[in-house]
């Protein structure tokens, strides 16, 4: 009999997605009731586990599929993560976020200044978003590195429409789960938890603002912010609040976690801007993750390359002060 002692850096296949999560995801997918072409041949309610192996039945949205953008590898995207709830090193979350942290079932709350406040299960919420689409976006971290990520999900505007905000609502505040039992970072208190992020309502309603439920057509892994994560490609990565439990419409600008921690270095807007430096490093250029060998560096684009689409949101705003 072969007895193999795996070294401690080795993550077994089974740890990447614990089996019960794997099956729960299948159930989750089935409840989505999405009639993708690949799905059509299968009975959605059957217990045939093969039915869901293709992951989310997602359709590529050609409007957000720039052929010049070559997606980073799935390994890089899912092994190089900032998720301080599960450790401050890039290699921590893939291990620590998969040690019994359950992201299904998951309740999401729509709250604050809106006509339809409600609490609902994430699968019910996604089912109301009529279909999952894939968009390939640039991703730029405030730490001056970047990736290209094929996100699956739905436009944030659809979720906002479901909540039906009141005229007084000017901002959308989003909050990550709080459960120190499963989150080593929350037990240590390496940040002020729960993690909070916010957008101006017009930013949130922008066509680029997206809620990710998957990556590369697969359910979004825990370490990337399962089951719901904000994606705002013209902003730095720390705005992409993960594992959201609450969407709240407010009249006042919410104080986001990193701004509360260190307002000199991180602001509310966090728009990618090569001309406004971080106090400790330059934002003019970025490391390309998965660049191979010594890696490569490229110039950072204004608004991360989405200037044409979003510059209008910030007319008359001093971007040097409102970083």
């Amino acid at each position: 009999m072969l007895i193999r002692t795996p070294p401690d850096w080795e993550l077994p296949e089974s740890a990447a997605t614990p089996e019960q999560h794997y099956h729960a995801r299948r159930d989750f997918l089935k409840t989505l009731g999405l009639a993708g072409a690949a799905f059509a041949a299968h009975d959605l309610l059957s217990t045939d586990v093969l039915a869901a192996t293709a992951g989310f039945p997602t359709k590529v949205n050609p409007a957000y599929r720039d052929p010049a953008l070559k997606p980073s590898s799935y390994e890089a995207i899912t092994n190089y993560n900032n998720f301080y709830e599960f450790g401050t090193s890039k290699e921590d979350p893939v291990v620590l976020a998969n040690r019994g942290w359950k992201t299904e079932p998951w309740t999401v709350e729509l709250a604050g200044l809106c006509r339809a406040p409600q609490k609902l299960d994430v699968s019910d919420l996604v089912a109301k978003m009529d279909g999952i689409e894939q968009r390939v976006y640039r991703f730029r971290c405030v730490e001056a590195w970047s990736m290209i990520i094929p996100w699956d999900g739905f436009p944030l505007a659809k979720l906002i429409a479901l909540a039906d905000p009141l005229p007084d609502a000017k901002f959308l505040k989003m909050t990550t789960f709080l459960d120190p039992k499963v989150s080593p970072g929350q037990r240590q208190g390496n940040l002020d938890y729960p993690y909070v992020e916010g957008l101006r309502l017009d930013e949130a309603n922008h066509e680029l603002s997206f809620i990710a439920t998957g990556i590369y057509g697969k359910p979004i892994p825990n370490q990337n912010g399962a089951p719901l994560r904000l994606v705002v490609p013209w902003k730095y990565g720390f705005k992409y609040v993960k594992s959201i439990v609450k969407f709240e419409f407010t009249a006042k600008q919410p104080l986001n976690t990193w701004q509360a921690m260190q307002s000199r270095e991180y602001g509310f807007y966090a728009n990618v801007n090569p001309t406004v430096d971080h106090p400790r490093w330059s934002q003019a250029s970025e490391r390309v993750i998965g660049g191979g060998g010594l890696g490569s560096r490229q110039r950072t684009l204004m608004f991360n390359g989405y200037e044409k689409q979003v510059a209008g949101l910030y007319k008359g705003l001093d971007l040097r002060k409102n970083y």
Binding site: P7, W9, E10, E75, A76, T78, N79, Y80, Y84, T88, S89, K90, E91, V94, E143, W145, N190, L191, W258, M261, Q262, E265, D277, P279, R280, W281, S282, A284, S285, R287, I289, G290, G291, G293, L294, G295, S296, R297
Partner: protein, 240 residues
């Protein structure tokens, strides 16, 4: 670990315990002898440099492979900090435990470990240049301009400059040339370098990295103990 020895209870000579004591002494002696040897210290100094190669080429860690140079950059800086704190701990260890063979053995290698700390710091800076510049030389001017502009990077460069001066003047000829007193004073800059390195490391991340405490904390405690021993009224009269 401690087992009740029936012989000890009955007051008879406790041979097994004595044997353990002898063995422990023997082990300490062995450790001392090992640490005296240059080849052992050299191996201990080179090994941390090979660690990233293991992760990249053998273990193929996906987190490291996402940007291998970034890992190498941080690892080299980390190793330089650990070695700097280690070499500075040798003297207080000797002062506090003047008869401890291990401390004496370690103090034979102060120059070697100190120069190794500089070597890792220099490699760290080289990695920084490649990391910031990639293969595009047009970034070089920007890197240098940034290094002066950003206190975080400037402090790192000042630390490296101090270590460079100390490494050059670590040659025997330099001691003669400077005179023992001037040389000693110059090499006290190592403490400034350690303080600057700790600061540089403490602000390298988005939040305070706890590793700074366990790298530099023991050194601070040892130095405090050394000062206490130095200034406290000495009974034995064997003060330094």
């Amino acid at each position: 670990m401690e087992r009740v020895d029936p012989n000890a209870l009955s007051g008879l000579p406790s041979t097994p315990n004595q044997r353990v004591e002898v063995n422990a002494l023997h082990l300490v002696q062995r450790l001392e002898n090992l640490l005296r040897r240059k080849v052992v210290i050299w191996t201990l100094l080179v090994l941390p440099g090979l660690w990233p190669l293991w992760l990249i080429f053998v273990a193929k860690s996906p987190s490291v492979l996402a940007d291998p140079l970034k890992y190498v950059l941080h690892h080299l800086g980390f190793t330089a900090c650990v070695l700097l704190a280690t070499v500075l701990a040798f003297t207080p260890l000797r002062v506090l435990w003047p008869k401890w063979g291990v401390a004496l053995a370690l103090n034979r290698h102060r120059r070697l470990v100190g120069v190794a700390s500089f070597a890792y710091a220099a490699l760290h800076f080289t990695a920084h240049l490649v990391y910031e510049g990639g293969t595009d030389a047009s970034f070089l001017l920007e890197i240098l301009r940034n290094s002066v502009k950003k206190p975080f990077q400037l402090v790192g460069m000042i630390t490296l400059a101090i270590l460079l001066v100390l490494a050059i003047t670590s040659l025997n000829a330099a001691i003669k040339w400077l005179g023992a007193k001037a040389w000693k004073n110059l090499h006290r800059l190592a403490y400034l370098a350690a303080a600057l390195a700790a600061y540089h490391q403490a602000i390298a991340r988005k939040t305070f990295p706890l590793q700074v405490v366990w790298i530099f904390g023991p050194l601070v405690l040892l130095e405090l103990a050394r000062m206490w021993k130095h200034f406290a009224p000495e009974k034995s009269g064997a003060g330094t």
